[in-house]
């Protein structure tokens, strides 16, 4: 985890997102920081309500009322271009449209709802090309057909004229991936892309995403609750809970020696009955001294900080009162 920022295509700093609800303000994301290394896959893992999807939606500025980004930076460093803070982009400006769906694109969980039922697959894939690349209609069809073939769809010419209902779940997700990659984005955000699929289809889609990432040198932010999937696709992992990242690590380190109690709980729940014993965290790394603890103080006056406890390993710890 090098800290030279040029290696990071995306750096999120102290991101905060609030939602106004009937019961008052909910802090969905409470100060999240991470870096996405260029050409790598970072998995953001957590349970429902942990804020992982809200974080990923913020990167595309897809947070809608009653939600609002209330603080932090989302620094995007495109190739041959100066750094952009996505949080500062104007809602209606051209820059945001160029980033969203062009330089950064997203695959959603539900392949049925991500596609329009009343437009042909061809129209939907070429739409992205026409919006973001300077080509005419005919060229856009060529580009779309080529991308469809690359995601493993056969008989492309006929398939382009069909509608989503004529595709199986796995094939639909391939179409969604083709739409996301057709503009050659620098970052692909995959939000639970295989959760709705059978295991055998999931295995194919995971392999496809990994292969395309390598071929197209895209960086992938992979949102999931499934630690099995994380182990298969991720280079680095950030574990989220209650709107905060509690542990960041290289994937192998995290699975071999999870440090945070919550990461350990997640891993043992995912291993169902085949969990391993983990040595006390103090034997593995030296934790910061001076009243730092893993649990958020219930008094509500806690201060949290990410501590680098080993090279590339960061842990969230709490302390009562100010720093």
């Amino acid at each position: 985890m090098s800290d030279s920022s040029a290696d990071h295509v995306l750096s999120v700093r102290d991101l905060r997102v609030d939602f106004t609800t009937l019961h008052g303000l909910t802090h969905a994301v409470r100060g999240v920081s991470f870096d996405l290394p260029r050409g790598k896959t970072l998995a953001l893992v957590g349970e429902s309500g942990s804020g992982k999807s809200v974080t990923s939606y913020s990167i595309l500025r897809l947070i809608q009322k009653p939600g609002r980004i209330v603080g932090g930076q989302i620094l995007f460093r495109p190739k041959n271009h100066k750094t952009i803070d996505i949080v500062q982009l104007s809602e209606k400006g051209d820059d945001l449209y160029k980033v969203r769906g062009g330089k950064i694109s997203m695959i959603f969980q539900e392949p049925m709802t991500a596609l329009s039922p009343v437009h042909t697959i061809g129209d939907q894939v070429t739409e992205a090309v026409l919006l973001h690349r300077n080509v005419d209609r005919k060229e856009s069809v060529e580009i779309a057909a080529d991308m469809m073939a690359r995601v493993g769809i056969t008989d492309v010419r006929r398939r382009l004229k069909q509608y989503p209902f004529e595709f199986s779940g796995g094939m639909r997700q391939r179409v969604v991936i083709a739409m996301a990659l057709v503009c050659r984005p620098e970052i692909l955000i995959a939000d639970e892309p295989t959760t709705a699929l059978d295991v055998t289809v999931q295995a194919q889609i995971l392999r496809l995403i990994t292969e395309l990432r390598e071929q197209m040198n895209t960086s992938v932010l992979f949102i999931t609750h499934d630690l099995g999937v994380v182990a298969q696709v991720a280079d680095e992992v950030a574990v989220m809970r209650q709107g905060l990242i509690v542990e960041r690590a290289i994937a192998r380190d995290l699975f071999k020696s999870p440090l945070h109690p919550y990461t350990r709980e997640l891993l043992s729940a995912a291993s169902l009955g085949r969990e391993r014993e983990h040595p006390p965290v103090e034997e593995l790394v030296s934790l910061p001294r001076g009243g730092w603890q893993f649990n958020e103080p219930e008094t509500g006056d806690g201060t949290s900080q990410m501590h680098e406890v080993a090279p590339g390993r960061r842990l969230l710890m709490w302390k009562r009162g100010g720093l």
Binding site: V199, T200, Q204, A231, Q232, F255, A269, A270, S271, L272
Partner: protein
């Protein structure tokens, strides 16, 4: 009939649907065999996993046994308290007393509970339907059952929306068990839950199974869940059972090519064990025939 007899003997159970045809007549459609000549036994007190991909017929199988749908042909002999009943051919009006013995835990904890009923009414409703006990006795049973599944007695005046997914699934379990059934079908009962909650609900089911001497048919697409909770497993594909056996044996030494495909696709939470998934498309029709030893059930 002694008590060692299997709780369930399923013989040549089938459910066929006609597809593509018009209800107004005209050309008849093709026959879809959602459940195709399935035979197996289920012993008392066991947890039997039914695993397969979507469309494999696993839910159809469970629902045909419970008569939530009427099977096209075949038999489902249910042996309890010394009497054997063929559930598959029982007339509808004779089904109600049988339903006390067979209950279902549903997948979606949000859709399966009536939002306009209190938790107490939801859990107590099966007692009311079957006319069991007085009002006070029913209330006492509801409280006991809620506490047994890890909820509190004061929860019974609240409505489902006030509960989390895991708690709702506990309510669903309480409702299914309040009649003290012999047989429970859990259809994807933990699929909608987060991993930590899922692990806790599975532990609860394991405890309740032992305490109530339940036989559970556990339908799931999630192989790791099946391995954790089941004694035996049926692997289904296109309405047929491909392989059946002790869960550890099937996972460690799968005999059927399709089982090998399924197992190869499990993403292990270990970066050093990368999957090398096989595909169903690479299998020949001969390889997708059920294992020969499954035929023995059809005969006896």
């Amino acid at each position: 009939m002694n008590n060692d007899a299997p709780l369930l003997r399923i013989r040549n159970l089938s459910k066929h649907y006609t597809t593509g045809g018009s209800r107004l007549g005209g050309k008849g459609g093709a026959i879809l065999k959602a459940l195709d000549n399935v035979s197996f036994n289920m012993t008392r007190g066991e947890t039997l996993g039914v695993v397969g991909e979507s469309g494999s017929g696993k839910t159809t199988c469970a629902r045909a046994i419970l008569r939530a749908i009427d099977p096209t042909s075949g038999h489902a002999y249910f042996c309890n308290n010394g009497t054997t009943t063929d559930l598959a051919t029982l007339p509808h009006r004779q089904l109600k007393p049988m339903r006390k013995e067979m209950q279902m835990i549903f997948q979606d904890p949000f859709a399966s509970l009536n939002p306009r009923m209190t938790v107490g009414d939801i859990v107590g409703e099966p007692l009311l339907i079957h006319g069991i006990g007085t009002r006070r006795e029913r209330e006492a049973q509801v409280v006991e059952m809620l506490e047994r599944v890890g909820l509190k007695s004061e929860h019974r005046s609240r409505y489902p929306h006030a509960f989390s997914g895991g708690q709702r699934q506990r309510i669903g379990i309480a409702r299914a068990l309040i009649l003290r059934p012999a047989f429970v079908v859990a259809d994807e009962a933990v699929s909608a839950l987060d991993v930590c909650v899922r692990a806790r609900v599975l532990d609860l089911l394991k405890d309740l199974k032992r305490e109530f001497g339940l036989s559970i048919m556990f339908v799931s697409h999630d192989l790791s869940v099946i391995r954790h909770i089941c004694d035996r497993v049926l692997v289904m594909h296109r309405g047929r059972i491909m392989e059946m056996g002790n869960v550890e044996r099937v996972f460690n030494d799968p005999q059927h090519a399709y089982t090998k495909v399924l197992l190869s696709a499990i993403p292990e939470p270990d970066p050093d064990r990368k999957m090398s998934p096989l595909t169903v498309d690479s299998l020949t029709p001969e390889q997708l025939e059920p294992l020969p030893d499954l035929a023995r059930f059809a005969a006896d």
